[in-house]
Amino acid sequence: MTELLKIKNLHVEIDKKEILQGLNLQMNEGEVHAVMGRNGSGKSTFSNTLMGHPAYKVSNGQITFNGKSINSLKPNERAKLGLFLAFQYPLSIPGVTVANFLRQANKAIKGDAVSPRDFRKILYEKMDDLEIDHLFATRYINEGFSGGEKKRMEILQMAMLEPKLAILDEPDSGLDIDSLKLVADSINKFKEKNPQTGILLITHYQRILDYVRPDKVHVFADGNIVESGGPELALKLESKGYDWLTEKEPAIGRTGVTAKGQ
């Protein structure tokens, strides 16, 4: 098994406030890891940090991707190495069409110049997989899209850009059960076509893990992983909640599990 991502003693601050406090994580090619936790446990800080958001400062620790330290790389450089982040709240870019955006992204990442016609063919195929109307290709990115449409658009981007590591930040939040299944099916389909790709699935609920089976589950609390295990851990969380984990945490001046940070 080839190591894909290694995170060692990661400390991250935003506005001089430490959110991640010495996080360690390791994942191999082709693995699916689920990251679970309450709101404010540091999950989104984690995903934004991995992608290189400039507001999140790594004060200590090391992020190694494919054997290369990426701490100092810009988001676009990380994307070129094969990282991808599906945003929890995708932003709209007025006046820029989905097709134009994806074509430029595709060119930046893969470096190849597919003809506009071939590109459209590939795009339409992937849109069909996600049951996204072809008309969306000429719409402006996320402008006026519903919550579910935005989430599917993120998965479409992943399918087009074929990353080596896909970080999916709550791809299930706000979705009804049909949309959730559609998104999960697309993730699985993508996984089938790209078996080497690692997936870091950040989620609040166990529900999506019924469809996308994780190899490992990590539980976040107060800016760190407090428990790791197999898929059974997710089920346990579903029935028992998060409290039993945070309670067994060594008491080092923490009081309860008040939400903080992001």
């Binding site: 988001p75 676009n76 945003f87 007025p94 820029v96 955006f101 992204a105 930046a108 990442i109």
Partner: protein, 466 residues
């Protein structure tokens, strides 16, 4: 060709001067008389010019707008009339080689071959080349330079000339009326649709040149036309003045679209009066793109004087650098029932540039059922730049529907992060956001112009980081 002073501006070159006539600097009654004489104009026009000159002399400089820059104009230092050649060319071969080369570099003959129905090329004060597709000529479409229009169709010119913009309107309209030369005269016969655009291209070559073209477009009942103008000038260390007057008349159910891609060099004052009247059921659209010039003050207006007439002004302005002020906007006057209008204004300021929106919506008493939408968006790319909005509304009728929305934004870090997370570089991401911001304007342009405009933005945005 002279060396380009400004690397960003690729049209900054100039030709050596080898002219048929070049006036001295400054403005006198004698000069105005001699321009009229050289053009062999009828007496009424000579009188009109002289009356306008008096108005120009008697009117004070505007006390609004960028008065600091306005007051720096040295009217005594300007060449008011420059005639580059004796006779206008019928083919490009008739045009002196150097001038033809210039237009080649600007891509005009090529554009003409590819996608235009008619072309007019003005160099300094005169139109030096002109063409109109034969089929349109046969349909009775008139497309001439204004001087030929006056000579060959005096009855139409006399009927409409200066009826929309009289010399009394403002100081610069008076100046234009006194010394006007060139510009376009267009008449579209009833129920005639000119499907592909007519284009005029304006080029200033001389330092301290004053260019005063005069355009009059009449679309007769049920006809339609799209007119496009572009303009460039060499980059000099001292200023030139461009002061045009453009009058549009859309008769019953006619449609006029007037598109401008203004790309003067940054030593040109661009002080232009543009106004249209729309009769019953007529549509007038001004698409106004301001990329160049030192100071632009221009507020295309539409008088909706017939029922159900519709007016639209879509403008973009890019103010780039502390030596540039784009003061642009729109005026729409609802003077009839059930008239509708849309104003969309987009401005971008960067590198200390200044963009101002100045707009007026007026609804006359009795103009019921009026609907108007105004949307002004300003994008500021850094803290040194400036954006101002000066909207005015004068509503004298009840129950009109007016929506006004104004936003000022900067390029958000979150949006940059989103685009960059897809492999797109910071510079490219900014350009993408800027192009997207302008899209509402660009998508209305014929493809060739859209490509050209995007390229201009790209050149302006180069080195936008840091």
């Amino acid at each position: 060709m002279a060396m380009e002073l400004n690397q960003e501006y690729q049209y900054g070159f100039h030709d050596p001067e080898n002219y048929a006539f070049k006036s001295g600097r400054g403005l006198t009654k004698e000069l105005v008389v001699s321009i009229s004489k050289m053009k062999k104009e009828p007496a009424w026009m000579t009188e009109f010019r002289l009356r306008s000159l008096e108005i120009f002399f008697s009117k004070p400089m505007p006390k609004w707008g960028d008065t600091k820059l306005l007051n720096e104009i040295d009217f005594e230092n300007i060449f008011y009339y420059v005639k580059p050649m004796e006779k206008r060319g019928k083919t490009w071969e008739d045009v002196p080689k150097e001038i033809k080369n210039t237009f080649d570099r600007l891509g005009i003959p090529e554009a003409e071959r590819k996608f235009l129905a008619g072309v007019s090329a003005q160099y300094e004060s005169e139109v030096i080349y002109h063409s109109l597709r034969e089929d349109l000529e046969k349909l009775g479409v008139l497309f001439f330079d204004m001087d030929s229009g006056l000579r060959d169709h005096p009855e139409i010119v006399k009927k409409y000339f200066a009826t929309i913009i009289p010399p009394e309107d403002n100081k610069f309209a008076a100046l234009n009326s006194a010394v006007w030369s060139g510009g376009s005269f267009i008449y579209i016969p009833p129920n005639t649709q000119v499907e592909i655009p007519l284009q005029a291209y304006f080029r200033i070559n001389t330092e301290n040149m004053g260019q005063f073209e005069r355009t009059l477009i009449i679309a007769d009942e049920g006809s339609s036309v799209h007119y496009i103008e572009g303009c460039t000038a060499p980059t000099y260390s001292s200023d030139s003045l461009h002061s045009a007057v453009v009058e549009l008349i859309a008769l019953k159910n006619a449609k006029i679209r007037y598109t401008t891609i203004q790309n003067w060099s940054k030593n040109v004052y661009n002080l232009v009066t543009k106004r249209a009247v729309a009769h019953e059921g007529a549509v007038v659209e001004w698409l106004d793109g301001n990329m160049g010039s030192k100071l632009t003050m221009k507020y295309p207006s539409i008088y909706l004087i017939g029922e159900r007439a519709h007016g639209e002004v879509v403008s973009v302005a890019l103010a780039s650098g502390s030596d540039q002020h784009q003061d642009a906007g729109a005026k729409i006057i609802h003077a009839a029932k059930n008239t509708t209008s849309v104003i969309i204004s987009k401005s971008i300021s960067r590198n200390g540039g200044r963009a101002s929106y100045r707009g007026l919506i007026k609804v006359h008493k009795g103009a019921t059922g009026v609907k108007s939408t105004i949307k002004c968006d300003a994008l500021m790319l850094d803290e040194h730049s400036r954006s101002d909005t000066y909207p005015t509304m004068e509503i004298d009728e009840k129950g009109v529907q007016i929506e006004h929305e104004a936003t000022v934004s900067k390029i958000e870090d979150e949006k940059l992060f989103y685009l960059m997370s897809r492999g797109i570089s910071e510079e490219q991401a900014k350009l993408m956001i800027v192009n997207g911001f302008m899209e509402v304007f660009v998508k209305e342009l014929p493809m060739e112009y859209a490509v050209e405009l995007n390229r201009l933005i790209e050149i302006e945005m180069e080195g936008a980081i840091g």
